[in-house]
Symmetry: D2
Subunit: 150 residues, 4 copies
């Protein structure tokens, strides 16, 4: 994986501030647990209110933390004032999303001028074992100014 | 689009019952508004608690209703006792997910013995206009008996 | 599907000229059979030299015509001098790609300033029947000037 | 990455034999350069006949070797007589596919009973440098007996 050099030395504060504005992350109880240049980690404790019909975490919840992890991994490499939006993603589900908690690890694969390609792995973390739950490939669009996708 | 003939005449009750077991759908306030053979519609009123940093509905929420719409569209064509799980999906985002409400329309593209291919369109519905918000292509795996993906 | 108005009245000549520069299309024997604003059709007769291990057309060949159909559908809506590149795509395979010929029909779903979202359906065409073979969702990036993805 | 134990000790011969039946791989000049349990490498020298309109290798060609690398990575873990078919894949393009040659490295991420999830990286290989060109996430379906997707 390439080593990235952030354009903005305050990238962590900027990513943290934006994450705190995502009310949905607060609603589901997700926490930003790591911010590095081009890498972001989000944790989510298992909650019964987030489940699908078999009692596992809903795929949309798994996707939500993977998406935010990808987006903030991309944002960490942009300069102050930039915004990043999700163009698209694809998720493969590898195992049921059980507890006690999920961790989504997002990283930038390629930082382009306009388009960044990112990936997230989501794992279910137990006492001493991590089980891969899902993997995401995502395309993000960003710019120095406010942009809308496209 | 092909016309599908459900193997189970009680498909609507079965889909509805499973939907009601998805606690996450209740948590976000989503409702099952249409069940037909191979087609399912889910509505979601805009809620501030489901937003991302720009005040739009979070991509994971959009994905969640698109996923459930695809999954239940597939399930409607399976016999009693069958289960359907999401193998993977891809979502393209077309416009910000604003209110007053989102509607996800899922349909089966191909009903295979094991694997079903489905699609969902998510639109933002206003007084007299629908704006396309996202589109999903999904792969579902199902069987007559309880299965896990793979 | 939205009706698109091409910025360049000579879009057909421009698309045709670019298609003729794709040596791979010539190598496999593909032909551009329809160019409309936001819509392009490519035909490919079955050839033994393009098969996979079971005697069907290789998935990469199916993808190639779907990709070109998407890209040229997008290009048809751009002004003179613009270029379009594929950012990413996803393909679901629905049935074996048999002969006598394949037809890929690409269309623009959303024409953005920078990013266009397109879709292609690939069908196997026989005497009186069309069988869906594959479907693609693609993201294209384009601009008025020469661009590289990202 | 998990270490895989092939069920069939003759997996290499079996994969090689199937690859040789892919006439399209011969048509484009691709060679199978590595077969290990759950891992396959395919090389493709640059050829003018495989290019798109800008003189780079066509995306469909890049995808074809990535697809075959994924499929044979999956097949290497199946028992004698099994077949593997591609359900779907997604490809992100990272840089133009230039020469002198491309290498696709496929690997199994998850080996399920029915469904395998695989990934391929495609790189352009020069004298002393590798440039990432594309990455694929793929879903494969396989069984001990002859199967069709779905």
């Amino acid at each position: 994986m390439p080593a990235f050099h952030p354009e903005d030395p305050d990238f962590e504060a900027r990513v943290t501030s934006s994450f705190q504005q995502q009310k949905f992350m607060e609603t589901i109880g997700a926490a930003l647990t790591r911010v590095a240049p081009g890498e972001v980690e989000i944790e989510l404790p298992f909650q019964d209110s987030l489940t699908q019909q078999h009692g596992y975490m809903h795929g949309g919840v798994v996707t939500a933390i993977a998406d935010s992890a990808c987006g903030y991994a991309a944002l960490s490499l942009f300069p102050t004032g930039a915004e990043v939006l999700t163009v698209e993603y694809k998720v493969n589900f590898l195992a049921p999303a059980t507890g006690p908690r999920l961790v989504a690890r997002g990283r930038v694969i390629r930082r382009g001028r306009t388009i960044s390609v990112c990936a997230s792995d989501v794992v279910a973390v137990g006492d001493s074992i991590e089980t891969p739950v899902a993997m995401m490939m995502a395309t993000m669009v960003g710019s120095d100014k406010k942009v809308r996708a496209g």
